[in-house]
């Protein structure tokens, strides 16, 4: 059973079926859309963390936060946990049809969340150790910017060179926003805190959610 094709290559129906079966496993668009949705999830998680801290700072003014100071290092955890669960669920759903080598490994899920969350924590620790006269949310925005840049460099949740360039630019933009904003409010910590209560969630949402939406729509 065989046939000559127009270019002289023999292609039997069985060989044609084999070719199609092989291609069936190549879902570039699905991988890209899933990666985009993961970024969108973190584009919601990051602003949510910022807004939670802004709320606490405004609801409990003063250095001891009405005795709830011990809660501060823990407030990000529920949001980050939800982000990690959503990330895992999205990639697990995609893995139903994506072949193994195109899915993200368990290490990938953890690394994605750990880099972002870890840098937020490091940023907070730095704030406490240095007692720097810079708004806390500016530090956190810098940390997220560095995190996004790191993920781009490491190629985590990245499918191709275009995405990598995009997230490199996105991460640098976040860091630049934090630096420029901090410089603009030098000498006025209260004003910087108020400003970054708006700038940080807005910038992180624009870059991460916007970037994810762009990837999803372009896939």
């Amino acid at each position: 059973m065989g046939a000559l094709t127009s270019e002289g290559e023999r292609l039997t129906p069985q060989a044609a079926v084999n070719e199609i079966s092989r291609i069936e496993h190549l879902h570039g668009a699905l991988a890209r859309r899933t990666a985009g949705m993961v970024w969108m999830v973190w584009g919601i998680v990051a602003p949510a963390i910022f807004m939670t801290y802004s709320f606490v700072f405004h609801a409990f003014p003063g250095q001891d936060f009405a005795g709830y100071y011990w809660l501060l290092p823990l407030l990000w955890i529920p949001w980050a946990a939800m982000g990690l669960v959503a990330t895992t669920t999205l990639w697990r759903s995609a893995a139903l049809v994506l072949p193994r080598d195109r899915t993200r490994s368990g290490l990938g899920y953890v690394a994605t969340g750990a880099v972002i969350v870890g840098l937020i924590v490091v940023g907070m620790i730095v704030i406490h150790l240095l007692v720097a006269p810079i708004a806390e949310l500016a530090w956190a925005l810098t940390a997220i910017g560095i995190g996004v840049t790191l993920l781009a460099i490491l190629g985590i949740n990245i499918n191709d060179a275009t995405e990598r360039r995009m997230w490199l630019v996105g991460g640098i933009l976040l860091v630049a926003t934090a630096l420029v904003g901090s410089l603009a409010f030098v000498g006025s910590l209260a004003a910087a805190r108020d400003a970054f209560a708006v700038i940080s969630p807005l910038a992180s949402a624009l870059v991460m959610f916007g970037g994810g939406l762009y990837l999803t729509s372009k896939a």
């Binding site: 059973m1 127009s6 290559e9 292609l11 129906p13 070719e19 190549l26 879902h27 570039g28 191709d160």
Partner: protein, 108 residues
């Protein structure tokens, strides 16, 4: 039962792979198709032109991060043709082996 004629535009190894890839992904960057199927620029261009000529694929430039990118998109005609091709293959696999039939040859 008469065996169907397999579309000669699609029934060629490289074009079949391109069509299968686009059928699955709908739209794909030229460079991604080239790298995924391990083709050269010239090879992909030649086969894409044939598919475009048949109205199965459409190529266009879109502005993306890092500059313009050539995208390949399967057309509704291409979608229908690929479905018909799959149906034809199914018939060959069900009946062909029993009757010893072979698909018809494509045009020279």
């Amino acid at each position: 039962m008469a065996l169907p004629t397999l579309d000669p535009v699609i029934h060629q190894p490289t074009r079949l792979r391109i069509m299968a890839l686009l059928y699955r992904n709908r739209v794909a960057a030229f460079t991604w198709v080239r790298d995924t199927l391990a083709l050269t620029d010239g090879n992909l261009d030649t086969h894409a032109a044939k598919l475009e000529e048949a109205g199965y694929v459409k190529r266009g430039r879109t502005l993306d991060i890092g500059g313009f990118q050539v995208k390949m998109k399967i057309t509704p005609e291409g979608d229908a043709a690929f479905r018909a091709y799959l149906d034809g293959l199914r018939v060959y696999l069900e009946i062909g082996p029993a009757t010893g039939s072979t698909p018809p040859e494509g045009p020279p």
